[in-house]
Each structure stands twice: as structure tokens, then as C-alpha cells.
């Protein structure tokens, strides 16, 4: 493995995310076959990439109104960045052409290197990395999706959001990076930079972590990591990063069989789970155990003010749902202090005395879901000084009749309260059962995140995210007080 180049400027790798011109090598005009070169090219065009785009294929021709060059060397202008979607056996020629052309960054979408577990694959990876190093070219990959940077229009998927955001994401897995951006986008997260870096034969998770920690556009760092190549350097960079921004990490390959799968996926060494856990804890990174949890926590960090205590008020509908929600909060280490008599009396006055309602914490508002009532009740609870956080739980599918009207009453009450409560309120929309309620929830989620409210699919997941946010905040206070 070639040693790393050393770029000492700050943030050193900024040019990787801001190429002035891009080549996509391996673009086919044959629309009857799946061709990733064409998909990647189309993605750049639809993301309105800010620089020049040059498709390359030995057979020439034209695609999407762009001339296809037979070789990189035939392009008359300078080329900053090359995306390789050609078969692995042609990559040594490609990297030689890139060197001749003065290319700065090559992203190898191409797979078939060390992850195959063959001597041939390892050799080929060593060869391209070595040529790159000798010519000052940085490599992303091979065997990965590359970079998504909405600000410059760099992307690898035609349906990713065009808006930029403040969350950075480093993903060893290509599929995970695609899934994650889509899922996070639905939930109101927008990204500054996303990198899927695969086998990491040159630029690694550590390089990108260092970059994101220095990048002023990135406020929160998230990562899916299968293994690191230089544990000591990673540990050092992680400590530095966690000191300046929240760093949330999901480590894949924590079991023996998972670790074995890691080896054939990205050729990385997964490392022991125990070592990882203590490394992350000591560095002050937030540890999570799934992709869902990764963005659950990112959402809380992104939308909410860090609370000092653990006192939550739970407003919901349905007795059974309230019981389960109370259990979920309690299991996540949150407290649900009972409301004093005065608050309960005010709630009774607002809601009206009706049997079957619980005028306490959790507050059950089943069948009392008129907007004005909800708004007033939420306001009373939000103004009660013992309460730091609100969870508003709307389980659509527990209602007998079509829930659109009821859901809208809730959503409008919450939207009206808006900035009065959004920095300390999470909304739970449960919508797994009915097709209709799934649609209502999708629309509501969009409305709510635009108003600054994080939305979760269950109280359990919301409570867990809040709990991790509090833990992180307490860790920070211990560090800097």
C-alpha cells in the first residue's frame, strides 16, 4: 500500500469537493443495457454540476447533447476530477492517462480490486494507487460511490436533494450512502458533503473525518465505518474532530461473521467490538448501532437545543400507546415528572372534563384533538418550568376512523406554536399500518421538519435519540467546564 500524501493546508482536501471539470469514463450510449457511467453522468447533469462535464468512451459518439471523447487525453481543456466506471482491467491505462492530463482526483466507482480477496485484485489496486501517488493524484475508492456535494453539484444519484445542509457523512459502503441520503432527506436532513470511499486505497475515512472536522460548512459529522487502516491516526483525528463538532459513528462488522463479511466487502479489518466501543467513548464520539439510529441522533442534534436535564412531558393519544410510550421513555433514561395539581387543573379546564383522559404525564388526548384545545394544552405544559422537553406522539393507526382530520388538527396546533417550542420538541408520527396514514405521515413529516421539528417513527426511537443528545451534552460539559 502506498503511503499517504500530506496536504497541510486547512481544510487540506477542499479541492476534492470543488472540481472545475469532470470526466465520466465508461459512458455507454446503449440504452438497452444498465450502464453506471451513464447513470452517474445523468446524475451530474440533473444536479446541475457547476463545472464542465466530459463523457469518455473509446467508441466516441454523443450522449445527453455532450460529445463523448474516446480518451481523456483527447479533451482539449484541463480535467480536475475523473469518475471511473470502466472495467477494472482497463484502470491502469486510465490512471496513466490521468497522470498525463494532470488530473487531481480520480474516483473509482469500478470494483474488482482487493475486495475480491484475490492476489490479482490486490495487485491491481496497488498498481493504480502507486501510479496515483507518483503523480500527485488522490484516489477515492475503488469500489465506491464517491462524492455528493450539493453546493458544487457533485453527486452520484439522480434523486438526491439539490439543497445543501450542515451534516457531513462518511460511508464505507456505497449502498449505505445511497440509502442514508434518501432516508435522511425524507426526515429533513440536508448534507454539506457525503463521501462513499469503499476500499480506501488512498483517501480514507480518517482523511475525510479530518477534512469534515475543519470544514466550516459541516456542523455535524456522521459516519458508517467498517474498519480503519491506521488505528492510531484515526483515534487522534477522531478526538480532534469530536472536540469541535458532534461526531456520530455507526460501526459495521461488530460480530465475527460481520467482520468476515467486511473483509470481502471493502477488504478492511473490522477490529474488535470492545476496542471500538472504548475508542469511540474515550474520544467523545456518539456511538450508534444502526443506520436508522445514526440519523435519529443526527436529527436530534441538528434540530434541538441540548437539554440540561432529563424531564420530558409526553403528550399523546390512546391509553395503551401512553403506557408503551412511558415505558420507552423510562427505558431510555428519561424522566416523566407528574404534573402538579395546578397544571392538571388548567389542563382539565382547557380540555374539558371527559372520562378516559389522563390529566397527567403522559397526557392522553385521545378523541380530544381539536386544534385550539391541543394548542392550549401544549402551551400550558411547555410553560411548566419542570419540563425541558416535549414528545408529542400521534399514532394515526390507533384511531378508529380515517385520521386526516385528526392528524391535521395536531399538525396545525404544532405549526402554530412553531418557534415557541420547536427547539425542545420531538414529534412521533406512527404510521406503519395503513397506506393512507403512511401518506398523511409523509406529508406531515415534510411540513413539520420545515417548521424545525424532528420527526420519529416511534417513541422508542425518539426517546433514544434524545437520551444520546443529553449524554453527549453532559460529556461536553465535563470536558469544557
Amino acid at each position: 500500500m502506498p503511503s499517504k500524501n500530506n496536504y497541510s493546508d486547512k481544510p487540506a482536501l477542499d479541492y476534492v469537493f470543488h472540481p472545475r471539470s469532470i470526466v465520466v469514463a465508461g459512458v455507454s450510449t446503449d440504452t438497452t443495457r444498465l450502464n453506471f457511467g451513464r447513470i452517474l453522468l445523468e446524475s451530474l447533469i440533473s444536479a446541475e454540476f457547476k463545472g464542465k462535464i466530459y463523457p469518455v468512451n473509446p467508441s466516441g459518439d454523443e450522449v445527453f447533447g455532450l460529445k463523448i471523447y474516446p480518451s481523456i487525453k483527447d479533451i482539449p481543456q484541463t480535467v480536475d476530477y475523473v469518475i471511473s466506471a470502466i472495467p477494472a482491467q482497463y484502470t491502469p491505462q486510465l490512471i496513466a492517462d490521468c497522470a498525463a492530463k494532470g488530473v487531481k482526483v480520480v474516483h473509482f466507482f469500478t470494483a474488482g480490486f482487493s475486495e475480491t480477496g484475490t492476489e490479482e485484485g490486490r495487485q491491481l489496486e496497488w498498481q493504480i494507487a502507486s501510479t496515483a501517488r507518483q503523480n500527485g493524484i488522490r484516489i477515492i475508492g475503488p469500489n465506491c460511490m464517491g462524492v455528493y456535494c450539493p453546493k458544487t453539484g457533485l453527486t452520484f444519484c439522480p434523486d438526491f436533494p439539490k439543497e445543501t445542509g450542515s451534516v457531513g457523512y462518511i460511508a464505507q459502503s456505497g449502498g449505505n450512502s445511497i440509502y442514508s441520503v434518501r432516508e435522511a432527506a425524507m426526515r429533513g436532513i440536508r448534507f454539506s458533503k457525503v463521501v462513499s470511499y469503499g476500499n480506501a486505497c488512498d483517501l480514507s475515512e480518517t482523511d475525510f473525518l479530518e477534512y469534515l472536522s475543519q470544514d466550516p460548512e459541516t456542523k455535524i459529522i456522521t459516519a458508517y465505518i467498517e474498519g480503519v487502516k491506521d488505528g492510531q491516526r484515526f483515534s487522534k483525528v477522531l478526538r480532534q474532530a469530536a472536540r469541535v463538532k458532534p461526531v456520530i459513528i455507526f460501526k459495521g462488522g461488530t460480530t465475527q461473521i460481520g467482520a468476515k463479511t467486511v473483509a470481502s466487502h471493502t477488504s478492511a479489518i473490522a477490529g474488535s467490538e470492545t476496542i471500538w466501543r472504548s475508542l469511540l467513548r474515550q474520544a467523545g464520539a456518539i456511538q450508534v448501532d444502526s443506520l436508522d439510529e445514526l440519523f435519529d441522533v443526527a436529527l436530534a442534534v441538528n434540530y434541538m437545543s441540548p437539554p440540561h436535564g432529563r424531564n420530558v412531558a409526553l403528550i399523546g393519544l390512546g391509553g395503551g400507546a401512553s403506557v408503551q410510550a412511558a415505558d420507552a421513555c423510562s427505558n431510555a433514561g428519561l424522566a416523566l415528572p407528574p404534573f402538579p395539581l395546578e397544571i392538571r387543573q388548567r389542563l382539565k379546564d382547557i380540555i374539558g372534563l371527559e372520562a378516559g383522559n389522563i390529566f397527567n404525564n403522559p397526557l392522553d388526548l385521545y378523541h380530544r384533538n381539536r386544534q385550539e384545545i391541543l394548542e392550549e394544552a401544549i402551551k400550558v405544559i411547555a410553560n411548566y418550568e419542570q419540563i425541558e422537553l416535549l414528545i408529542i406522539h400521534i399514532p394515526f393507526d390507533a384511531l378508529i376512523i380515517t385520521p386526516r382530520w385528526g392528524a391535521n388538527q395536531y399538525i396545525e396546533a404544532i405549526i402554530n406554536l412553531g418557534e415557541q417550542i420547536n427547539k425542545r420538541t420531538t414529534i412521533v408520527l406512527e404510521f406503519v399500518a395503513k397506506t393512507e396514514s403512511k401518506q398523511i405521515a409523509s406529508e406531515a413529516q415534510l411540513t413539520l421538519y420545515k417548521a424545525g421539528f424532528p420527526v420519529y417513527p416511534s417513541v422508542r426511537r425518539a426517546a433514544n435519540a434524545i437520551s444520546k443528545l443529553i449524554q453527549y451534552h453532559h460529556w461536553q460539559q465535563r470536558q469544557y467546564s
Copy 2:
């Protein structure tokens, strides 16, 4: 609290589920206001209830083409079953009328009894229960949804499936019973009988558990329980039930604050979590910790043959997804034995040598998703004698381009294999991110469960359900060998 009547026939409470005529008391003709009497009546009509239906309201009139009687006593025919949707204060009169009319069962949808925590509420509940007992009337509730029995057309929700099934469900919470039937229905579960029993002032979880254990139409018993009134009897009945059928129980109110919420929800005593856990374990019931898990496990028990060992083959797409799936299986105690050289060679021959694929367990088929290839590959793995179970993992949203074509290749391959593999295969459709893929997954889920395949939304949940199925099977073997 009045003592229970003793019905010794077997199954003693069968008449509760087979009334010949029903009264819905509290039906309003005013369509500008939410009226649960009308909704419950409409539900019975749309479920094509097999007997006579009589709406009752002091003001008379007509609704859905049915004459509204001012009182139960005005109905010229016999009445077996009464649904009360009237305010609590009128229920003593109603139960007196029921006694005069010779009614056998009253379901009190009406709330406002002991769950309010007031002396008045407790008194009222005691009063109706006492009158009922003196007149041989059985009570379901109060403060609950009642009975859903698709075979007779008894129901409490207009959108519940009309088809009958083999799963019985006992739910202390009304909202939970509604949510559960909908969610389970989407996943291919059909019910024999569902009872939401609320405060259980007469008929309790134990009565219904005993009934379901003797009911030949019920093959699997599921339950959401907040607390029991007679622990000893419950424990005895549970042992008997678990001896003859799988019994899956979700206990709500396991935390202190959850238990407090239970008290104001259904006035039940939640009991200590430790006692519950050991009670369920000793009885041989399957314990779960959420409603989702309740039906995850019911699905596995319902669709799959119990496996003897823990050897699973994982077929999926995407390296990162495979790593996480392998971790999930391993954490659930499942084994992923590596394929021998011969199987790997046969897979290579079928799939074609392509870089980036993993020819082992898990088998990563990213981008090799033509139906014929998938079908052949699955067949080779299913026929490998070391493998007892298959998990086929299709994470739609990890694919770059629109997944309908790719998804269909998978679904068709699985459907073609059908009965050759369905008793030992679970399908995982991951579809949380994109609206389009949610729809594809909903359609695919329907197709798959009709072909006998249980579908899960994540490998984690599938692996957990399989693991619980294996545990249960091993417990059974120890008992009866």
C-alpha cells in the same frame, strides 16, 4: 368486584363470539358530530354481521335504513349482545334494561369508570358488574373496543379484513387492538378472534386466554396485557394454554412510570417486571417487548416450519447491507455457516464471475438481479443440506436507480420457487426512504404473503423473530421429549 360466573362447557365462552342479534346503544343520526355508536354500527354493517342489528337511541328515527328503537325493551325480538356507546351515567339503566330483556353479553365501549381514579367511577363500575352478575350477563370492558370475529361479522372498525384466520389476540388497550389488526393485516396475518377488554370488570384476559386455548379456530395466541387481576389463575391458565398452542405476550407497563400510566389507563395493577418475566418463561410463553415484535414473532410462527438448528443462509444485495445483516443475524444467535467450495463454484457458474460480489454466506447479489439467476442461486443454497433457513434481503433504497424492475426480478424468482422454500424462508423488504419504494414494497408484501412468505422490514427484526421461533421450538422439545 363481583366474583366470576363459572361456565364449564368447552369452550365455555363460545356464545360471546356468536350472537344472533346485536343492539348498538347510543347511535346518533347527527352526522355533523363524531358519534362512536354510529361508527360501531357502520362497522357491523360493512362486516356483514350474520345476525340482526338494532340501533338504539331515546330519540328514535332511522339510520342506514335501520329503525332506531328508543330503548332495548322496545325491540320485539330477542337480543343476545349489546354494545354500549352511551355516556357512563346512563349505563345502570342500560344494564337493567338488558337484564329485563334477557341479554347475554354487554360490551361497554363506554369509558368513565374505575380508570378515572375516582370513587364515583369505581362505584359505577361495581354497580353495572353487580347487576350483570345477578342476571347472568357477561360484560366485556368497560372502556374498550370489544370483539372482532370476522367469521360472524362482529367487529369494531370499518376497515378490518373480512377474512378469518388462525391468530387470536387479547388486547387490554383499545387503540392497540385497532393498530395491531391493521398492521398485522398488512403483513398477512388474519385473526380468528380479537378482544379488546379494557377495565375487565367481569370477563378478563384470563377468561379470554382460556377460551382461545380451547378454541379450535385459534392456532396461535397473541396478547397485549397491562396487568392481571388474579395472578394465580392467570398463571395456571397460561401454563395450560402454552402447552397446547404458541402464546406470545407483550407486557405493557414494565417500568415504574409505565405502571403508573397503566393504573390510569385500565385501572390494572401492572406488577413487577421481574415477576412477569419469570412467570412467562416458566409457563413457556414467548415474551416480546413491543407490538411490532408481537406480530414479527406471530408471523414467523404462522408461516414457518420450526427449524431444528440455527444455520441460516443470507442472500442480499449490497456489501454494507450484507455486513449489517450478518451482524444482525449473529446478534440474534443465528449462525451463517460458510458455503463449501462446491457450492461456491456452482454459484459462480450461475451468477457469472463478477467483481464486487461475495460468493459466500452472506451472498451479495448487488446488480446481478435477473430473475433466472436469482432463482437458480436461491435453489442451490436452499438445497445445501447444512442450511435450514433462508433470509432473502432486498433493500430497495440502496439501489441507485428506480427499483421496480429489480424488485420484480426478486419477487418473481421467489414466487416461482414458492412451496419449495416458503416454509423456511423469510423475506426482508427495506423500504423506509422513498415514497416509490414504499409502494413497491407494499405491493410485493401482499404478493409474497399470499404465496406463504413472511415479510419483515429489517434483517434485525426477521432474525429476532426466527430466533424466538427456534427458542420456542426447543422449549417445546424439552417439554415433550
